[in-house]
């Protein structure tokens, strides 16, 4: 299985949850909301493109609007291998985080 970085993992989750509305800004806002941090657009954009190159995401062109300076949107969808890698990472995370919360309580 392929290990994902935290950011890649979040981006994939965002694309999954946003369904047909997953494009640069929506993913960016999702992540900004989730982390509560001021992230830059490029820090979301480059992982998105990297995941496309790895074959986990598929990109398609949307319509250009004047608000976007005449540039079209780029929509992202999970590919089969994208879904698989997400599943694998999910089970990995569950296994890895098991009992962690219990154990952390001991330090409080």
């Amino acid at each position: 299985m392929e290990l994902l970085t935290k950011l890649e993992e979040l981006v994939l989750i965002a694309v999954l949850k946003l369904k047909d509305e997953a494009y640069g800004i929506s993913v960016y806002k999702f992540i900004a909301c989730l982390t509560g941090k001021e992230v830059t657009v490029s820090s979301v954009y480059f992982p998105l493109e990297r995941l496309v190159r790895k074959g986990f995401l598929m990109a398609s062109k949307g319509k250009p609007t004047p608000r976007r300076g005449g540039m079209s949107k780029r929509y992202y969808k999970l590919t089969k291998s994208g879904i698989r890698v997400l599943q694998e990472n999910l089970s990995l995370n569950i296994t890895a985080w098991e009992d962690v919360s219990e154990m952390l309580k001991a330090f409080e």
């Binding site: 640069g24 490029s42 480059f46 990109a59 005449g70």
Partner: protein, 862 residues
């Protein structure tokens, strides 16, 4: 509506070369508008800028990743092409490598020439005092009188320091000995102590301030010290020497060891004796000796200010009617810009620097043209590749980049080969040019950066045109089946071939002229018989026993005559002034002190009057011989008229007894000088000249050595042949001619390689056409002409342009010589014919193969 900052947006567009990046630009802009509505223009613009600046590192990372991918792809394509078309690439790379090799060699040579005397810290403030005996005051002599230096320092505050050096013997070796080690030495100087403060000649042992202050002190170079003392410490040891060659041995105490003089110095010493040990009057202004004066100025601009004041300086310090003037010559001009008599060592010539640089560039240009021509000619083979790439979405500038990268890879490859060749051939090159360029100079940063830059420049120039040419094909026309014509570009290709041959023919033409001139010089009548003269340095014992020795020699059947003289042609001269009857001016004369056998030994013709017999010191009126030129300069209408005229010279008075023909005692770069011959006692003579018969010379020399050992046992025999000595004076011309020839061959070779490639290509392209023609009955000859004709017209066209251009430049070169060969029509014909023959041979191999091929083979698959 608010707009995002223009500059930032532009920057973003430059940064993002990929199609997907459009979405990123759009996303940012959309967010910008959201923000502008909430936060106002200024804050949202700031946000926009920040976003973009933060994205820059990511973009750079991306583009590097892409480029390496593309580059590995380009490499793959290049190597596939090389495999497929070995012949073409061999020609291209070999041509470029040869071009680069010659460029690197010439670069090394030129850098060496330009670096002369630059190792002195004060180089730009050091000047040499040069002397002029010409009427317009332009410098004529590097050497001069003794007294000028100290007087200059006394009179002008701008002169910080002066150095005077006296070279002993111009070409005559001087005896130096330490115990049993006895040698004749060529580089014996007397020098003032200031030599070490003005110049940068560091001492390994001894104190630079005091080493040359005491009389009879001497400084040796490391090499010389080793020669005489081996591993022992030479400091404080006593050496004996005979610097004046008068038999009176002087003793010197070794007070210092200097580092060996770097090759890039305009003079080299082995011995430096202290100046105060000199026997001459070192304050005197009269007479020129092998004596050189250097000054260190407070500022380099002071020379301009001083030069106009020097004539009045001579008036003030010497006399009202001086027969010479002086001027200051920059130290850094000595190697390449000085053309004076009596240089300490032969100098270089700036013209050669220019000529060699031009040749290097020419060879390189010819190689670049090969590359351009072959690549564009082969465009057809690659048209399909270009078409497919374009259909697959390659943009034009991506293709340009790809083809340029190809050119860079090839030129880098060629440069690596060239550096390897240079490394291997450097000793041969050093031998050819007489230089001493070390291997280490191939490792200096300047050299490495320079060759890398050259590789890039060559790659760019040879690749730029083919890159644009190839990438401009329309996929629709190249991918369509059926014939595809490449009409565009052929004119340029023709032009380039003509230009190549223009350069090669120009170089051939120039080489022929150089060689003709060298031959002309060697065969020129100098006015004396240089072929049959053997010269021996005189020493004390020989002077005393001369008559006996002479009588012994004359018994030998192959020795015709002997004479002694103060100088011999090619080796030094003394200039003194004479006043002749019926003439108001003092005439500067080269003075030869001789004995009465001189004219017959050297084969001089007595044009009027008779030979002289009586010595200067004997009673009675003094009789002299003068050269024909003297009689003209003195204003006499004929040699006959000159006989009997009186003259005064220093404190002597006398008359002209005879007139002899002019002889060339210097190199043929100069016109002959007027010479006066006086008979003097042998004590001031330096040379014994033997006139020998030219057969069985080695036996004559063996006999001579035997006689020498018997009669002069205390000194080793040291001799040279006059014709060799004469040839050495033209050594730099000869070297230049040899180097010239080598590079000519290279230039023509590279040009022919290109022609060969083109001819092969044309023959290939026309395989079917030739097949059809032959089937229809064309003869081999007619097909041969069809294929060769156009190449030959190019060569002929080129020779028509090249010869006049080369004529123009070579005429300038010939101006360097006082005696010039003529540039005749035959040289035009020979150089054009040579180029034609070589190119015909090159083209013919391919044309003939195509013409004689069996049409059945070429048409089989139709």
């Amino acid at each position: 509506m608010n707009k995002p900052p223009k500059l930032a947006k532009h920057l973003l567009k430059i940064l993002s070369p990929h199609e997907g990046d459009e979405a990123f630009i759009g996303d940012i802009e959309e967010l910008f508008h959201d923000r502008a509505e909430r936060q106002g223009n200024w804050r949202s613009r700031r946000w926009y800028w920040r976003e973009i600046l933060k994205s820059i590192p990511q973009f750079i990372k991306e583009s590097i990743r892409w480029r390496t991918t593309m580059l590995s792809n380009t490499f793959k394509i290049v190597f596939r092409n090389i495999k497929k078309q070995k012949g073409y690439f061999l020609i291209n790379i070999a041509g470029l490598a040869i071009g680069m090799t010659s460029a690197i060699f010439i670069f090394l040579w030129v850098r060496d020439e330009l670096s002369y005397d630059r190792f002195h810290k004060n180089a730009d403030r050091i000047y040499r005092v040069v002397f002029s005996t010409s009427e317009d005051g332009s410098p004529t002599n590097a050497n001069g009188s003794f007294g000028v230096g100290p007087a200059l320092k006394r009179d002008f505050p701008e002169v910080v320091e002066t150095v005077r050096i006296r070279k002993m013997g111009q070409g005559v070796k001087r005896y130096v000995g330490y115990k049993e080690k006895k040698f004749y030495e060529r580089r014996f100087f007397f020098a003032e102590p200031s030599l070490f403060s003005v110049f940068d000649f560091p001492l390994v042992k001894g104190d630079p301030v005091s080493a040359l202050t005491e009389p009879n002190s001497i400084v040796l170079t490391e090499k010389t010290a080793k020669k005489y003392f081996g591993s022992n410490d030479p400091m404080g040891q006593m050496m004996e020497a005979d610097p004046y060659n008068d038999g009176e041995l002087m003793l010197f105490r070794v007070t210092g060891i200097a580092k060996d003089v770097p090759p890039q110095s305009h003079f080299h010493f082995d011995f430096l004796a202290s100046y105060c040990s000199l026997k001459e009057d070192t304050e005197s202004f009269s007479g020129f000796y092998q004596h050189f004066t250097y000054v260190l100025l407070n500022d380099k601009s002071s020379a301009e200010f001083l030069n106009p004041k020097l004539l009045s300086f001579i008036h003030r310090n010497w006399r009202k009617d001086p027969w010479y003037t002086i001027s200051l010559q920059p130290l850094l001009d000595i190697r390449l810009h000085s053309r004076l008599r009596s240089e300490i060592e032969p100098t270089g010539n700036i013209l050669y620097v220019y000529v060699f640089t031009a040749i290097a560039l020419f060879v390189l240009v010819i190689a670049c043209i090969n590359f351009m021509n072959l690549t564009t000619a082969r465009a057809l083979n690659r048209a399909k590749e270009v078409g497919i790439r374009k259909v697959a979405g390659a943009r034009k500038n991506q293709l340009v980049q790809q083809f340029l990268a190809e050119a860079f890879i090839l030129s880098l490859f060629a440069v690596s080969i060239a550096v390897l060749i240079v490394f291997l051939v450097l000793p041969v090159f050093n031998n050819l040019t007489g230089k001493n360029i070390p291997f280490s100079s191939l490792g200096t940063p300047v050299f490495l950066l320079g060759t890398a830059a050259a590789a890039l420049i060559v790659g760019f120039f040879s690749g730029i045109y083919p890159a644009f040419f190839l990438s401009s094909f329309r996929p629709s026309s190249v991918l369509k089946s059926g014939p595809f014509s490449l009409a565009s570009g052929t004119m340029l290709r023709k032009g380039l071939v003509v230009f190549q041959f223009f350069l090669s023919i120009g170089i051939i033409f120039s080489t022929l002229i150089v060689q003709k001139q060298i031959k002309f010089i060697q065969s020129r009548n100098l006015g004396y018989d240089k072929e049959q003269i053997l010269v021996i340095s005189l020493n004390k014992d020989l002077r005393q026993n001369y008559e006996a020795f002479r009588n012994e020699l004359l018994k030998h059947p192959n020795i015709e005559n002997t004479t002694t003289s103060s100088y011999v042609p090619t080796r030094g001269s003394a200039h003194l002034t004479f006043h002749f009857q019926d003439n108001e001016d003092d005439l500067s004369q080269v003075v030869y002190f001789v004995d009465k056998e001189f004219t017959s030994t050297y084969g001089l013709k007595i044009l009027a009057g008779k030979n002289i017999h009586r010595s200067l010191t004997e009673e009675g009126s003094l009789a002299i011989l003068v050269s024909e030129l003297t009689t003209r300069e003195a204003g006499y209408s004929s040699p006959q008229e000159a006989v009997g005229k009186s003259f005064t010279f220093e404190e002597y008075k006398g008359f002209i007894a005879g007139v002899v023909n002019d002889i060339n005692i210097y190199s043929l770069h100069r016109l002959p000088h007027a010479i006066t011959y006086l008979i003097t006692p042998r004590t001031i003579h330096n040379y014994l000249s033997l006139r020998i018969r030219s057969h069985n010379i080695s036996a004559t020399i063996t006999d001579l050595q035997k006689t020498w050992r018997e009669m002069i046992p205390n000194y080793p025999l040291d001799y040279f042949f006059l014709d060799e000595s004469f040839e050495n004076m033209h050594l730099s011309d000869k070297k230049m001619s040899e180097v010239f020839s080598v590079f000519t061959i290279l230039a023509v070779l590279v040009a022919c390689m290109g022609l060969f490639g083109l001819a092969t290509y044309t023959a290939q392209q026309k395989t079917k056409e030739i097949g059809v023609r032959k089937v229809l009955g064309a003869s081999i000859l007619s097909i041969y002409f069809l294929l060769s004709r156009k190449f030959l017209t190019w060569v002929i066209l080129a020779s028509f342009v090249a010869c006049p251009a080369a004529y123009f430049f070579m005429n300038k070169w010939l101006q360097n010589f006082a005696f010039r060969t003529k540039i005749a029509l035959e040289i035009f014909l020979v150089s054009a014919g040579l180029a034609l023959a070589v190119s015909l041979l090159t083209v013919s191999t391919q044309s003939l193969r195509a013409a004689t091929a069996n049409p059945a083979d070429s048409l089989r698959y139709e």
